[in-house]
């Protein structure tokens, strides 16, 4: 095929860039994209909750499996850790909007640390919990849901890590902080999701 031919008789000044797209919505495209992505993510979790529902409710399996115990308290503390990371992230975000670089750096650093702590506690829980996903379906669901969430925390941490490094390098400003905003939404989603996971797995 021939290379695309510009419109005959077009103004030749237009060759080095596209025309500015019309903005037909007030919503920021990147924000909207992230929200749609989160809808997809919610549906992945929904599918895992379907498995949980079938195995626990429809299959009437004991929960947790006979002879096992879920560390409700430790996980509860861990929940608090993860939730506070959302707060520190918010602090970082408001700081950058106010031009407070210390708040940005400290906020990001704490957020990253809290997130990493959560993940470590989770791994530690796996090591000491006393059952494996291969033992019974309840174990599979437990590891499936917490593992799926853990994978999201891990990815979130990678994003936050980059943001943290960048904020220490002096990136982001009052005007331009989308590189912080978009991963932030994701992180908040991961936190909210954990509340749902924690409630269904540990509490109910």
């Amino acid at each position: 095929m021939d290379a695309a031919v510009p419109l005959a008789g077009a103004h030749d000044t237009h060759h080095h860039g596209p025309p500015e797209a019309n903005r037909s919505s007030r919503v920021d495209p990147q924000l909207l994209g992230m929200l749609l992505f989160i809808i997809s993510e919610i549906m992945v979790f929904a599918a895992f909750f379907t498995a949980y529902f079938f195995i626990r409710i429809v299959g009437e399996n004991e929960w947790p499996a006979r002879g096992t115990e879920l560390p409700v308290l430790v996980a509860g503390v861990n929940t608090a850790i993860l939730l506070s990371s959302s707060l520190t992230l918010h602090w970082a975000q408001t700081s950058v909007k106010n031009g407070n670089r210390f708040g940005l750096k400290a906020g990001m650093f704490t957020t990253f640390l809290l997130g990493a702590t959560f993940l470590l506690v989770q791994v530690n829980e796996y090591v000491h919990i006393g059952f494996s996903p291969a033992d019974h379906a309840q174990g599979s669901v437990f590891y499936g849901l917490t593992g799926l969430h853990g994978a999201h925390v891990f990815i979130g941490l990678l994003l936050l890590g980059v943001v943290t490094v960048r904020s220490f390098r002096g990136h982001f400003s009052k005007e331009e902080h989308r590189g912080l905003e978009i991963p932030g939404i994701y992180w908040h989603f991961v936190d909210v999701m954990w509340i749902v996971v924690y409630t269904t797995i540990y509490i109910i």
Partner: protein, 635 residues
Amino acid sequence: MPVTLRQPGWSRASASMVLGLAFSYALSIGARAILGYDPLLDGESVMRIALISVPFFFLVGLGCFSYWFRWASGAPTVPEDHSGHGAKSWKSYFYPNTDHKVIGIQYVVTSFFFMFVGGLLAMLIRAELAAPGRQFVDSNAYNGLFSVHASLLIFLFIIPVFAGLANYVLPLMIGAPDMAFPRLNALSYWLLPVAGTMMMLSFFAPGGSFATGWTAYATLSNTAPLGQEFFTIGVQFAGASSIATALNFLVTIITMRAPGMSFFRMPLLVWANFSTSLLVVIATPFVAASQFFVLLDRSLGFNFFDHGQGGDVLMYQHVFWFYSHPAVYIMMLPGFGIVSEILAVKSRKPVFGYRMMAFSLLAIVALGFTVWAHHMFVSGMQTWIRVPMMVTTAIIAVPTGIKIFSWLATMWKGVLKLDTPMLFTMGFLTMFVLGGISGVMLAMIPLTIHVSDTYFIVAHIHYVLFGGSLFTIFAGVYFWFPKMTGRMYDEKLGKLHFWLTFIFFNATFAPMHVIGVQGMPRRVADYAEQFASWNLVISLAAFGTGISSLVFAYNMVASWRGGPRAESNPWRSLTLEWQVSSPPPIFNFDEIPTVVGGPYEYGVPGAVHGVFGGSPTTAGPGRRGPATTAGAPSA
């Protein structure tokens, strides 16, 4: 390091894949050492990790992620030089490109490649089934043939080819210079060859290709040989690709429409892809999850489907069909959009009941989520679920019926140009009605108890996906061929292609209704003597269908290379994609048009859809009808 290995491209991608393989070995051996498993080297585990990781190494090597890595690191990004935008020669099509038109063509050509592979597998299937007893493949290979056939044609042909066509025309139609996320768009495309190659390579896996059907029901898929994982993991890549594209479409449609293009001034193809994308974003994660479960069960000993440990076998089917029923609409709604476009243009009339056409799409989206268990009437699930699902399944025929009737009304009293796209559209109308009718029959539980898992189902799904989707795909490819290639296709060959396809398609699939009801189960390498004569007829007709697709292939290749040059608007269409040159300029528009009216105002005197730089675009200069029909004839 040589320059070629540092710059994104195929050399770096190849080297990167070798690296990925090494990584897979290291990870597998390392993990097994830490966990204390005995043979440190386990082929299956290496293969599994490689299936997941090598594609990423490939994509990184090819440069799909380069910009994001730079952006995330905060390194000063190169000011947009558009070096990766637009095709400079045919070679550009083999590299990631950010131009939606290049990506659209990449999509369409790649998916048609997979169509020919899938079609070839169908030929092998029919050769084996031409007579009872074993012809030339054993039953394991046979199960592999139909499994790969279905998986390729569903996940790598019908779903992506629609995404490809829409990728090309949708931004043009709504007056956008490109998609909202051009780099994500490029990545979406490159995930496809990855998924398709993986599925095809499964034939070389120890134990043969995956052979559990495209449905891959647990527990069969849990215990199948390694080839199964080429499906399990391949689907993840195909699914990720369609989610990313859908997200891209949604954001593009919502945020990048030309001034004046309200939702109810959008062409119905845009509406159709809007609805489809909603379905994809919401439903596709479920098929991903269903395959995650299988993968976890297979590789890490999870018990999602092990009933002895409390697992639930039927859960797989619920999760799978919660995606795969909507998937039928994912494979159909974009075709509805194509049909609406072509019928309006080729009948020279506005689409009848435009708003109802848009609303019925949304109704199908909503209802589509409430019917999944009609695939499970004989699965042994709780019996009470069946009746509500029967009712919703029947009701979903209402919005579909509205569309059919509206299309018929659109044609009525028009001035019908019976060229190839129109013939395929009209073929679609009649054949899809048959598929819809057998669909309503299948909603009726007592009948489904008898015909489920028989050739009646095979007939039904091929009337929907071949007589329905594929006919609209052909129609769309012919219709936009001039726009995409700048050349005209050969009308005579196009018509020949239509009639051959139409006749042989019916000869192939209509008899399947009969043998299905008579009691021939599907997915069998061998069958009882009583079905022999019909199967021979079906096989012969299937070969005819195969040959007819060669006419298409020849027409496309020859016309693309040497067809007459296309004008910018050969169909006298009003929609925006026809108001620019064929093929369109590299950035689509010199200046974003303003939309001042509906997209299908054919026959309305002086009607205008888009205005470019103050000059209204009618359906081509001086091509208005002499008597722009003010009143209906004899109305």
